[in-house]
Amino acid sequence: MARSLSGEVAIVGVGETPVGKVPGKSALWFNAEATRVALRDAGLDKSQVDGLLTGTSFVAPFHRMSVAVSEYLGIQPTFSNTLEVSGATAAASIGLAAAAIHSGLAEAVVVCCGDNMLSGMTRDRAVQALVSSRDPQYEAPFGLLVPTTFALTAQRHMHEYGTTPEQLAQVAVTMREHARRAPGAQMTAPITVADVLASKMVTTPYHVLDCSLVSDGGVAFVLTSAERARDFRTKPVYVLGAGESYSQEHIFCAESLTTTGARISSERAYRMAGLRPADMDVAGIYDCFTGTVVTMVEDLGFCAKGEGGPFVAAGEITFGGRIPTNTHGGLLSYAHPGIPGGFFHIAEVVRQLRGEAHGRQVAGARLGLVHSLGGGFATNATIVLGTERNG
């Protein structure tokens, strides 16, 4: 058996700021406030924090975001970095924090992420920030925007497997139903499949309601060793598995648009945890667009390849279904402040495993998966979390 961090590290604190439109706050504030709440949740003094990881901000100018956040909090960590693997940063940062703790680089690591994309940028500037991340020679001259990258994958999925616009729309409807149970969610007005299909087309096959939100918000976690976790007042949530996959940068270099690196990242995470997809009680899946969830439930092993459309349409990703997913409403309805978006999936799964998801609790949830992804499936990261060290 290879050396593994499985069960060696636990999440002992979680904190969130309000989400949605939260004017007047900086990206630093969203990071720091979420961290303050997470430290209070864990009952840990900031002087005990020796590591801090965060993701990039679209609004704040800092090239050393993790250092700027540390300064705001008045701490001087000896392990720190700002991760940049787009949407996959969320799950990837938990894996890296766990590795740092397991290897002795740090003892107590804060993982935080916050941004004010909605209040801090005009829509044009937000879109421009995403456009400017495209290859200036092979992509940008053709007016490729991020949603189009994902739309190309959805169109191909529809072609290969007969996935329908109605099935895609059902994902948005389910996420909205979930958000209605989550206090503070950004979008809570009920919607129907017909509403999604009647909303304005952005980039075929994606309508406005197939696309995630633009939000403000921040979220943070405190991680430490499983041994130390026993001393905390919170119920520890153990990191049982972690896996990543980075398959390409350009969408035209992807070997497949419908079978992704999520298959590799999740297989690695399951293997490390010694668990299977059928063992998972709850999931957080990066839902930047409706179609990503359809492809991901396949690649994460919850249904066979090509059956993601019927799977979501049959109610398998909601309460009472095979794998309740994004019980907070996800990026489509809870909040999507950019890079922080995927971190909210982790917070929700942690709350489910602690039994604290009031009004939306999956009864007896012991094991959960979180999958983060970015860039038209360029980046994929999966973690498996559980209430027991041995899964």
Binding site: P141, G143, L144, H159
Partner: protein, 141 residues
């Protein structure tokens, strides 16, 4: 047209590609060592890391691998172009490339359609590769 659209900043890796397009030729990099064909242009083979690469003229024909018609422009510069269809074209030589379609109504676009390159001279120095349906446009699965 409102404002200037982004133009490719040509570099040593990609100069032959852009110069080829500007004189109406699609050049693909072939590796003399391992035989792989690559898009995009690099100083080394993305398969074997060999440096013995040869630019060969491509057929300029391919198949639509996937597409998406854009109704909401990414920036003001593309406002007058919507709706436009972004395509992933699988070239006859194997690699895929990203482009946009011309001479084709959005509703008529299908995966599997055969397409042919069109050279769109956008400035005195830059020609962008675009695609249009092949005359006898048979659909393949």
């Amino acid at each position: 047209m409102s404002g200037a659209k982004p133009l490719p900043p040509v570099d040593d890796d990609t100069r032959a590609w852009w110069e080829g397009l500007h004189r109406g030729v699609l050049l693909l990099q072939h590796c003399r060592a391992c035989g792989s064909v690559q898009v995009y242009q690099r100083a080394m083979c993305g398969c074997c890391l060999g440096g013995d690469l040869e630019h060969r003229e491509a057929s300029g024909e391919g198949t639509i691998y996937s597409f998406s018609t854009v109704y909401r422009p990414p920036s003001a510069e593309f406002k007058d172009d919507v709706p436009y269809t972004v395509v992933l074209v699988e070239l006859s030589e194997g690699p895929r490339m990203l482009s946009t379609l011309v001479d084709m109504a959005p509703d008529a676009v299908r995966i599997g359609q055969r397409v042919q390159i069109v050279y769109d001279r956008v400035t005195e120095a830059i020609t962008l590769p675009r695609f249009r349906p092949l005359a006898s446009s048979a659909t393949t699965p």
